[in-house]
Point group: C2
Chain length 340, copies 2
């Protein structure tokens, strides 16, 4: 897909909340074609300017970016659907950037969302998008921050990013959203373990799911998590991460979740959230810049061979990292001087 | 200091365990002079080759790299001294890469170490080095991995890296050493909190200090930490991080610490530790390479201005990170093409 000239019409469509323009925009920012990159940057710049103009004019409804993460089978989709329907009932418009863990290769089949969130997917005030195929295992990708901006431009005031809570994903998710909800399965006794360190670090809310199945186990799990969280200070702000128990199927406890979310996004916390977003932006920029420059420099065949060779030597302990970097920069200097 | 030609003699001195050569080597790798960088890389390459030759021949005594971290005043120096003296008594040679938190600017005064570790600093089997001045707040610096290699080459089989456990430092420390010991002050009741998330993540051993001052508080703190750690799986391996209580002044509980450390470094765990070190090497290489390339590219005045300008725009939300990176690369392409 090449969009060169019709960025204007795509942008106008987004402003009208046109779903076709939204889908086109998302395809554009996810595209790896060289020719699309420029169009994507132009579109995103227009959106960013629009966002900041609205903010300056004070007309911007503060958007909410919510991450929902947890192990496969914990009930993420069930919660997203019920939570999303509730929010629609309260006048919100919900975009869900979802990943279907059952098909990591294709990044979520199109049918998948209809099956996973049958009631939400048919609503006008909801938009569900499976992750692009170049996603990382967790379901987030380089284009997710841009996808969030695009959805907000199309009038969705709440963006839910659903990821599988394994490995790096929790931290990745925390860098994308304002609020991270960690879903945890109830378990009894000593089994209340199996959670990777790193996930607790970034959870702004821990929700024990399926409390209706085993109330005793849910209470026990809740107590253990509450005591662990009490031990640790919130990583991001003065926010004290609460632990609640929910049951999306019977919608018990969802009231508590809504209360916590509203509290998190209360007007007094707005400036904290804004400054946290600015930190995310800078972090994201640094990270993407470093990666892109590495790619850029190693487009030279000799340099990329040198890099690969050094990488092997470093891995084998034959060259310390600092010496390897020094040698690479020496070679780079010579090549640049030769060519200039 | 320029070492150009006498790398051979410095290396030979290191092999003999000569302290003057050791100090020279450390100054060399910490030097920011351009002319020293090449000599430092040569020295480190010789050391790395020597290390791997010894490993291949099976004569290498497995080294131990231990990080000791915790808040100021928790008793790090007291523990390092007593722990170090014990190890010397058991036939080890100890290098301490220490940071004096009281003088963050100079990176630890020379007098400081004599005051902080009076008994250890006079021993032949010990070497104490304050951090270089370009240290980060935590006390680690880019040259710390190299400093560890140099100390090991000089015959110190145990290297202790002492850092202040704040902010990023715990994670940084974990990337440098095999084993991280987190020291925690006893406190009673609800006060058992104040610990930054992130530190628990990387602690291989949690030691509650000063148990002789308030046994009740120490026991309470121990229980809370033990229950929090039980909840989380070890981040790095199958190792289950234990919580112990110690008192370095009365040397009570140090026996338990030695047992845990010996267990961690037991022969069965050697291959795990080795593969963890290889991961650290690759991670360190990636990180240093990315930073160096960014520095290299932004030596061009126009590009560095462009980067600074984009950084401000990104921070203000006027340009999304992905678009900013795209714009920078476009400019870079033009400059490179113009110059070629």
């Amino acid at each position: 897909m090449t969009h060169g000239g019709n960025i204007d019409s795509v942008f106008d469509g987004l402003m009208r909340g046109d779903r076709r323009s939204l889908a086109q925009s998302l395809s554009l920012i996810e595209s790896t074609h060289r020719s699309d990159k420029d169009a994507a940057a132009s579109l995103l710049e227009r959106i960013a300017v629009w966002h900041s103009k609205r903010k300056a004019e004070g007309v911007q409804t503060p958007s909410r970016r919510i991450g929902i993460t947890g192990a496969p089978g914990v009930g993420k989709s069930t919660l997203v659907e019920q939570f999303g329907l509730d929010l629609i009932g309260r006048g919100h418009r919900i975009a869900v950037l979802a990943v279907d863990p059952s098909s990591p290769k294709t990044g979520g089949s199109i049918l998948g969302d209809k099956v996973r969130m049958p009631k939400l997917s048919v609503r006008d005030a909801a938009f569900i998008r499976p992750s692009p195929s170049k996603q990382s295992y967790s379901g987030t990708s380089d284009s997710t921050p841009d996808a969030i901006l695009v959805c907000e431009a199309a009038g969705f005031d709440t963006v839910i990013v659903e990821t599988v809570g394994v490995g790096q994903s929790a931290t990745e998710t925390a860098n994308l959203v304002d609020l991270v909800i960690l879903l945890v399965m109830p378990s009894s006794g000593d089994e209340v373990q199996g959670i990777k360190r790193g996930i607790m670090e970034v959870a702004d809310v821990v929700a024990i799911t399926k409390m209706d199945l085993d109330m005793a186990a849910a209470s026990k799990t809740l107590a253990v998590y509450a005591s662990a969280l009490r031990l640790m200070m919130a990583s991001r702000s003065e926010w004290k991460s609460p632990v609640i128990s929910i049951s999306a199927t019977s919608s018990d406890g969802l009231t508590a979740l809504h209360e916590v979310v509203d509290q998190f996004f209360s007007p007094q916390r707005r400036s904290t959230i804004e400054s946290e977003r600015n930190i995310q932006l800078r972090r994201c920029f640094d990270e993407m810049m470093k990666r892109s420059l590495t790619r850029f420099l190693t487009m030279d065949r000799e340099l990329s061979n040198k890099l690969a060779q050094l990488y092997v030597q470093v891995s084998n302990g034959l060259v310390p990292p600092s010496a390897a970097v020094h040698r690479f920069l020496q070679r780079l200097n010579i090549i640049v001087k030769e060519k200039l």
